[in-house]
């Protein structure tokens, strides 16, 4: 059948693609989608490994992952919505008010 290594490689690819989305896109919603893809890479790893070892732990892990992702995404979405609502911020560039103040910092 499908060797574990192949599934793991595909999962790694998904993980890195998601990571690339987080790194390269500037829209908050896209970044969140990138996170989703990363989590899915992890889920695929867990399921493939579960198949490899023949026990249900992998699926349990994935279920937990789904529940956690759901919770996380919901809170993140509401925060993004608040940012949009208040500052019309859709992109990360709009959220850089918290930073080191370099002009005044050096005495």
């Amino acid at each position: 059948m499908i060797p574990l290594n192949h599934s793991l490689a595909i999962a790694a690819l998904l993980f890195v693609l998601g990571l690339a989305v987080v790194l390269l896109r500037r829209e908050l919603l896209f970044i969140l989608m990138g996170l989703e893809v990363m989590f899915n890479g992890v889920a695929l790893t867990a399921i493939a490994a579960g198949q490899h070892w023949g026990n249900a732990d992998g699926q349990v892990l994935t279920i937990m992952l789904m529940a956690v992702t759901a919770a996380e995404i919901v809170v993140a979405l509401i925060l993004i919505w608040l940012a949009f609502d208040r500052y019309k911020a859709v992109r990360v560039e709009a959220l850089t008010r918290l930073r080191d103040d370099n002009k005044e910092g050096v005495p």
Binding site: L95, T96, R99, D100
Partner: protein, 645 residues
């Protein structure tokens, strides 16, 4: 008694805590009482220890295990052997007398609470230092007394002189403390042990005599001792410390704290025996300091500064004895010195106080009108300090050191220094006595001291005269109680053959008498307006302060400023090239030499590097979410890269 050992340092510590925490509830008259009770309790505990067998059998108490990690444990515990017993007796006894004296002499001060808090805390720290059975606890006490000394020198902190003096004392002794801390670290890293007895056993069994490690450790401990005991070259803080109240000078800067270095070396003497070169260095430092202190005292005009230089010089005798392996004799001189020097300070304090806070001896002499009791007790102390033969304690303790110095390597040379010192001692102290008490002023005073001041003076005067009889000179019939009692712990001192000993003793008898004569001559010259040759040089303590100021303080200031300000300020400030004249040319040479340049450039580039590091790193904190995520992934990539590689 073993289980009550903690009471000795515990009582003053408790006193300090009560004064600090409940001070708000007490009327200010009660601070002195509380502090005196605490000191008395400590002294009572020491007496109890004497009577319950501490004199024959070491007592031990482990309070609690402080840390136990891995295979290493550190217990907080006290040991009371004979060496410690001598020390705690002096510290608590003299301490008690000085506390009592304070109650009268400091009664008008407004800030009683701070004064007695630190006085009690000092007593606790000193007792902890002496009783500690491990180096860490010893170091704690060591630092505690340093802190209290700093706070008490600067007691009148609103005036610039005392607060500067306090700071100076703190910083100079810190140099020594750092050396001691390094020594402790080194010992710990070698043996994984901090308990004193275990360390000394390990060291004597595992280290070859003269080995490099032993030498290094002994050097570092010596550094600590030199700083605390105000020996060359770290003696500069002590004369300035006289800016504090007189009882403080008596307690901390004469009788107890400054002898901590002597105690430390006596306590760790097996280490010094493993490093003969360092031990000889101890003797050499002592010998040099004797002459240095005595000659500087010769030209002073400030009453208390005479005594300060005298202290430096007298501790030199103790170092000389330590360096010659005569630990018991060092301790003997420590004891007698504690009595007569405390006495001198306290009676001088009484004179200064009745003289309206006048420190200049010429003015004091013109003023006259000193309390007679202070005069007689000062005379007793001066006689003992000068070592007037047969009737004073100082004679017996100093004579023994002079004799034993002869046996050390280059012994005759050391002896010469010590003998010259003995002569000068008699000169300067009788010069001071004659200036103050036989000046042109009236001598018909009937001022009496309050009993709380009088009694300590009388007791100390008595002790300064008679306490020497416990150990008569070598080769005399009569008791040698002191050295035989301490023999088990500290060994016996070596003496030259009897003929030489007797010769040396004869010279020692003559020296103080000659000194008194010289003092009279000197006074005569001074009164006719001829001053001592090189008086300025001597008065400034051989110019050490100026030297340090030019060689260390000024560059340090520039360095500190440079660290605080930006680089260009440092470069401007850091030029640091003001040339001093006279014998300070040496310092100027050092400053201009290559090393200094290197140091300067190094500091400047370090500051620059820190600046650049800060601004580069700070620029990365640009609040940009994606950048943060990028850093995380970069970190992850690097960490994973380790496994590929």
């Amino acid at each position: 008694m073993s289980q009550w050992l903690w009471l000795i340092p515990g009582a003053p510590l408790l006193g300090a805590l009560v004064i600090a925490l409940l001070g708000g509830l007490l009327r200010r008259e009660y601070f002195a009482m509380a502090a005196n009770c605490a000191a008395a309790a400590a002294f009572a505990a020491v007496l109890l220890a004497w009577f319950t067998g501490a004199a024959s059998q070491p007592l031990q108490q482990t309070l609690y295990t402080w840390i136990a990690v891995g295979d290493w444990r550190l217990a907080i515990g006290f040991t009371l052997d004979r060496l410690a017993l001598v020390m705690v007796s002096i510290v608590s006894g003299v301490g008690l007398l000085i506390h009592l004296y304070s109650a009268a002499s400091m009664a008008e001060e407004t800030d009683q609470r701070r004064y007695y808090f630190f006085l009690n805390l000092f007593l606790a720290g000193m007792l902890i230092l002496v009783l500690a059975d491990n180096l860490l606890l010893l170091y704690l006490g060591w630092e505690l007394v340093g802190l209290c000394s700093y706070a008490l020198i600067g007691f009148w902190y609103r005036e610039p002189l005392p607060s500067n003096a306090g700071r100076k004392a703190f910083i100079v002794t810190r140099v020594g403390d750092t050396a001691l801390a390094l020594g402790i670290f080194l010992l710990f890293s070698q043996f994984h042990e901090l308990s004193l007895s275990a360390l000394l056993t390990h060291a004597t069994t595992q280290w070859e005599p003269g080995s490099q490690l032993a030498t290094l450790v002994a050097m570092l401990i010596l550094g600590g001792a030199v700083g605390k005991s105000a020996q060359l070259p770290l003696q500069v803080w002590l004369p300035d410390a006289m800016a504090g109240p007189s009882p403080v000078s008596a307690l901390i800067h004469a009788a107890t704290m400054v002898t901590a270095g002597v105690y430390l070396i006596a306590r760790t003497h097996p280490l010094f025996e493993l490093a003969p070169s360092v031990q000889w260095l101890v003797a050499a430092i002592g010998a040099l300091t004797i002459v240095y202190g005595a000659s500087s005292a010769l030209a002073q005009t400030d009453f208390k500064r005479v005594l300060a230089y005298s202290t430096i010089s007298q501790i030199g005798y103790m170092f000389l004895a330590l360096g010659c392996g005569a630990y018991a004799l060092a301790l003997f001189h420590l004891t007698t010195h504690a009595f007569f020097k405390a006495l001198l300070f306290l009676s001088a304090g009484a004179v200064i106080r009745t003289g309206g806070d006048e420190h200049d001896m010429h003015n004091l002499g013109r003023l006259g009108n000193h309390p007679p009791l202070a005069r007689w007790t000062f005379l007793a102390g001066a006689a003992s300090l000068a070592g007037l033969p047969f009737v004073t304690a100082g004679f017996y303790s100093k004579d023994a050191i002079l004799a034993t110095a002869w046996t050390a390597p280059a012994g005759p040379l050391l002896w010469m220094f010590a003998a010259v010192g003995a002569l000068l001692t008699a000169v300067y102290i009788f010069r001071a006595y004659l200036l103050v008490f036989h000046g042109p002023g009236p001598r018909t005073s009937t001022i009496s001291l309050p009993p709380l001041m009088a009694w300590p003076l009388l007791i100390l005067a008595l002790l300064s005269l008679v306490s020497g009889f416990v150990e008569l000179p070598e080769g005399w019939p009569g008791p040698h109680l002191w050295s035989t009692w301490l023999e088990d712990e500290l060994g016996l001192a070596a003496f030259p053959s009897l003929t030489i000993t007797y010769t040396l003793q004869a010279i020692a008898v003559l020296l103080p008498l000659a000194g008194i004569g010289l003092a009279m001559l000197l006074i005569h010259r001074e009164q006719t307006g001829q001053s001592l040759p090189a008086a300025d040089f001597l008065r400034t303590g051989w110019g050490f302060d100026a030297f340090y100021h030019a060689a260390l303080v000024r560059p340090y200031h520039a360095l500190a400023r440079g660290l605080w300000r930006t680089v260009d300020t440092l470069v401007i400030e850091g030029a640091l090239t003001r040339i001093t004249t006279g014998f300070l040319a040496f310092a100027a040479f050092c400053r201009k030499s290559v090393e200094h340049r290197v140091l300067e450039v190094g500091i400047a580039s370090l500051v620059m590097a820190l600046q650049i590091g800060y601004s580069r790193l700070s620029a990365t904190q640009n609040g940009f979410l994606s950048r943060y995520a990028l850093m995380i992934s970069a970190g992850a990539t690097f960490l994973l890269g380790y496994w590929l590689w």
